[in-house]
Amino acid sequence: MGDRRITDHPILDFDEGEVIHFTFDGKPMEGREGDTIASALHANGVKVLGYHFKTKRPRGFYCAIGNCSACLMIVNGKSNVRTCTEPLLPGMVVEKQLDRGVPDDV
């Protein structure tokens, strides 16, 4: 799904940042330096980020700027991470969220 990365653009230059390895539901994937978790997943062709806790309908991001909460996922075991604004870091373990999640540090 490499064709999702823009390489040729009339105005913008996109540096090919360092490759960042992470996993999505146990599958190894590659993102780039500068990616958010959601942008890296999208580059890998992943649009479904979780399922609604009640209706079980698939969910993807909507706003991509941290407003709408449609992109919440489990990252390194922590639920309700806004993956559309959270920077991708090496070794992250990213999973689809299927429930409301659990609050941390309680």
Binding site: I6, P10, L12, D35, K47, Y62, I65, N67, T85, P87
Partner: protein, 361 residues
Amino acid sequence: MMYDIDLVVIGGGPAGLMAANTATEAGAEVLLLERDGHLGGQLVKQTHKFFGSEKQHASVRGIDISTMLGDRLDSFGERATVWKNATAIGFYEDGVITVDHDGIYKKVKPKRVVVATGASEKFLSFPNNDLPGIYGAGAVQTMMNVYGIRPGHRVLMIGAGNIGLIVSYQLMQAGVSVAAIVEGLPQIGGYAVHAGKVRRAGVPILTSHTILRADGKESVERATIARIDRTWNAIPGTEKTIECDVICISVGLTPLAELLWQAGCEMRYIPSLGGSVPLRNNCLETTVKGVYVAGDVTGIEEASAAMVEGHLAGLEAAASLGFKGDRYSEERKDCMEQLAALRSGPTAEKIRTGLACAECL
């Protein structure tokens, strides 16, 4: 620990950056809170050149304006502090603002506040509107212009306002095909110059049309559109199926005003400004003394007006603390004139009407 400071600016977009720059230049000590990891707000994805006059950076691209304003703030050294990854999470009656800064809970008690929190994208009701692949137009712009990712292969754009038109053109610049632009109104809402660009590239703009539904198994595979009559009802027999893997919703924005509600500012629902907005005087001070507003949180306009409002709010907040430069009156007058000019055209009629109801103090 409680941080004491002259002025806190909430939001590091065009309005907040201008407010922080102006107030710091006037002599105030300023703290700017930005939720994101970088400054600029939505300027960071605006690859198009701005309109307006030279003072509003006309013919400069939004991304470059963002850098200019950020660099200027940097140049003030420690008089202007910037907290990135800092979300204002509460605004209390005693004037205390609580902040989640890099996961650490902090409290700030400023003498004055400029709220410049911007706006969020509106949504549209239709069956299956929650399918992955249905994105706000701004979200698609962020994916493409900030992260360099194509949202898909073929896009249906809903809304022919300036954002719908500009993002359609930017999709094509990124190598994505745009199937059509659908607009409910009988006429195109955005500027003719933007509409001309997408039309010349072969994209049909279907006015008096709406989306009836989206379909797809796990994500969007197609959309059904139809012509609508004057009462916005679909005309039977005019349905059309459009194959697409992305549907972009560009039906306007609504102010992100939660902090103002919590602070106790008097609010009024004004549809032409996008939702509930704070009442204020012509210097952008709300009903809560010392709380100023600027940018889209005051009502939806565009970045040029947001920058001038930020300038005015920063100037006024600083002046009320006694930081009044020699050019104060001149600058104030200039801001008011720039705002009047930006809102002078026939397309700004509804903004002028809306503002007349909001600027009433």
